[in-house]
């Protein structure tokens, strides 16, 4: 177990290094740089900008250095927790992200919780009552959930939320709570606003998970060991929970890692549509503005979450399945 863990941790570190490199290269690959954006903004106000001025900005920001030097500077800073300076925000990247990351995590984990809490029972029900009305209904809703694009679902739900529940559109807080200190009322307001993003981000994943849970349970129900356990006198419920469901959790746990990725990578556009004060819109803007240290740090953190998610799902699998443990 110890060797398994340390091996996995080493892989994770290596993957992270590669990811940091890739994210840096991707950001660099976009045409132009932040200095040109500064120049364009200034030119838009009527100021006259010379090539020398642009170059001066470049030198000031270190953009004139070769890319590997920039990468090295960024990486060595990142290791020490210094992700550089956000030019657009005129604040350290760490600070900007720290304000918003907790909300991103709250949304992501609420969404995951929602997906599993809804899909596992429905998947089991669908498998046990195959071809029943409930099974067909859950399939239909599931396919709709898969087919509707997130941003459209977001718009529809915002409209419904506003019209029928009188909820303020978008954001994670009502205006009166936006800058208020944390209180019980603010938590309730926050949870109420969490419903729409969680539904939007979680619907497709939930539909997918229902299908895979259903298939996994169906697979197990026909297995010989289920019949053998039934022949020893277990009641249908004991049987279902102890054997097929327990077995079906393995493939579900195995995909936990990329479920998390899916939720987080789907978040920026949804966050934009819903005007969420989390890292999603921050990330989109950073990419548009070529605010490279901020964008790089966000890509890096998203990847870190993915890698952690994969690690957790591997760990769960080891705990769930002795056959993996014994190898």
């Amino acid at each position: 177990m110890i060797s398994f863990l340390s091996r996995r941790l080493a892989y994770m570190a290596a993957t992270l290094l590669l990811v940091s490199f890739a994210s840096f290269v991707i950001i660099q690959a976009a045409p132009g740089d932040y200095a040109e954006i500064v120049a364009a903004k200034k030119a838009a106000t009527g100021a006259i900008i010379s090539a020398a001025d642009v170059q001066a900005v470049r030198v000031e920001l270190g953009l004139d250095k070769p890319w590997h030097e920039q990468y090295w500077r960024w990486l060595s800073g990142a290791v020490q927790g210094d992700f550089g300076f956000s030019w657009a925000w005129r604040r350290p990247v760490g600070e900007v992200i720290a304000e918003r990351m907790p909300l991103t995590l709250a949304i992501a984990f609420s969404t995951l919780l929602f997906m599993y809490a809804v899909s596992i029972p429905i998947g089991i029900y669908s498998a046990v009552h195959r071809y029943s009305f409930g099974d067909h209904a859950s399939s239909l809703i599931g396919y709709l959930g898969l087919a509707i694009p997130n941003f459209l679902l977001a718009l529809v739900l915002m409209y419904l939320g506003q019209k029928y529940f009188g909820q303020s559109v978008g954001g994670l807080f009502s205006p009166e709570f936006a800058n208020a200190p944390w209180s019980w009322a603010r938590v309730k307001d926050f949870l109420a606003h969490l419903v729409i993003p969680v539904l939007v981000l979680g619907t497709a994943g939930t539909a997918y998970l229902i299908r895979s849970m259903r298939a996994a349970v169906l697979d197990e129900l026909d297995k010989m060991y289920v019949l053998a356990a039934k022949a020893s006198g277990l009641s249908p419920m004991q049987l279902l929970i102890r054997y097929p469901v327990r077995m079906a959790l393995n493939p579900i746990a195995a995909t936990l890692g990329w479920r998390l990725t899916y939720v987080i990578s789907g978040a920026p556009i949804v966050g934009y549509v819903l005007a969420l004060p989390d890292t999603g819109p921050l990330f989109l803007n950073a990419l548009l503005n070529q605010d490279m240290y901020l964008a790089g740090a966000l890509i890096f953190l998203y990847c870190l979450l993915t890698i952690i998610g994969t690690f957790v799902s591997d760990l769960l699998l080891v705990l769930l399945d002795p056959r993996i443990r014994l190898e």
Binding site: Y225, L227, A228, K230, A231, S232, G233, L326
Partner: protein, 340 residues
């Protein structure tokens, strides 16, 4: 309460018919009018080719038929030593009634020891579970019982084996563990559905020997389902031969081998290779044709299209009568003459 006479069979099956519900709403009979008794401590072998309905019959005895199969008619009277009696056919496939019988009064072992255990639970969990389901026993006591049974079925280091996973056991060991699981609550009847078919021959011999000795020690009855006449000769007290969903002959094991009365039974025996066949110039005679498709069963005697002694048109039109001489019964037009 009436105390049953000592010679009341443990299991008495009368007129059991199992039907398959097809998608278009028809009920296709899989077995018809199956009747047999199993006496206390007796080993009855149910013999037949694949598709003859023997496994389905075994499953029906514990109400374990698949969703599209059902007991259409008949009685499955269970009568255990402690005075318990029930008609399993009337209990239905769900509920406390049948659950209290499964694993406690009737145990079952299956053909595939490899897949009869869940791969992610320990052997000990899966055997002790049977005790906790049926008896008001703590987990520790159940574990101790499981270890005791594992020892009884010949597993070395039974206490250590409790915490092992099925994948750490060989096929033979798993079948031993399966036997322990089926017997841990002391059932009066063990149903063994081809328990050695998936094992190699030496292991097969060991398992059969184990079953025989457990049967003698515990005084339980066994319904042994097989297509292997060698195993029948070794294990059974009595034999029932099934063909296309009907029991066409039943007799004490000696009579089956010495005086088979049904042409199908004779053909089965002729199809068995024996040591020295080649020296004596004897050839195995396979039975021409094959078991009828259940959706297209021939009228009259189901064996008549393959039968060398069929009396036509009578055998193709009428269900042959059943003749009995002592404990030897046969369903054939020639029955009276042959048994005489």
């Amino acid at each position: 309460m009436m105390i049953a006479p000592i010679d009341t069979p443990v299991l008495s099956v009368r007129g059991l018919s199992i039907a398959l519900d097809t998608r278009d709403g028809h009920a296709v009979p899989i077995t018809q009018d199956v009747s047999f008794d199993i006496a206390r401590g007796e080993v009855l072998a149910l013999v037949g080719e694949s598709g003859s309905g023997k496994s389905v019959t075994a499953l029906a005895l514990m109400q374990l038929l698949g969703a599209n199969l059902k007991v259409a008619r008949g009685e499955i009277a269970l009568h255990t030593q402690d005075g318990f009696r029930a008609d399993v056919a009337k209990l239905g496939a769900r509920g406390k009634g049948i659950e209290a019988i499964r694993g406690a009064r009737m145990g079952m072992i299956f053909q595939e020891p490899m897949s009869s255990f869940s791969p992610i639970h320990t052997i000990g969990q899966q055997i002790a579970e049977v005790v906790t389901v049926h008896e008001d026993v703590g987990r520790k006591a159940a574990r101790a019982r499981a270890a005791e049974l594992l020892g009884k079925v010949g597993i070395p280091d039974p206490v250590g084996a409790l915490d092992r996973y099925p994948s750490e056991f060989s096929g033979g060991m798993r079948q031993r563990a399966m036997i322990a699981r089926a017997l841990i609550c002391g059932p009066s009847l063990l149903i063994a559905d081809e328990p050695t078919t998936a094992l190699d021959v030496t292991i097969q011999g060991q398992i059969l020997e184990l079953l025989r000795s457990l049967q003698r020690d515990l005084g339980m009855a066994i319904l042994f389902i097989t297509h292997d006449l060698g195993i029948v000769a070794q294990m059974a007290d009595r034999v029932a031969v099934m063909y296309s969903g009907r029991i066409i002959e039943s007799a004490p094991v000696r009579d089956i081998f010495r005086r088979p009365a049904h042409p199908y039974t004779r053909a089965l025996l002729d199809a068995v290779p024996r040591l020295g066949d080649i020296d004596r110039g004897r050839r195995i005679r396979p039975i021409a044709g094959s078991v009828p498709n259940i959706f297209d069963v021939p009228p009259g005697c189901r064996f008549h299209p393959r039968c060398p002694v069929a009396v036509l048109p009578r055998c193709a039109e009428l269900q042959p009568p059943r003749y009995a001489s002592g404990r030897h019964e046969v369903e054939c037009v020639h029955g009276e003459k042959v048994l005489a």
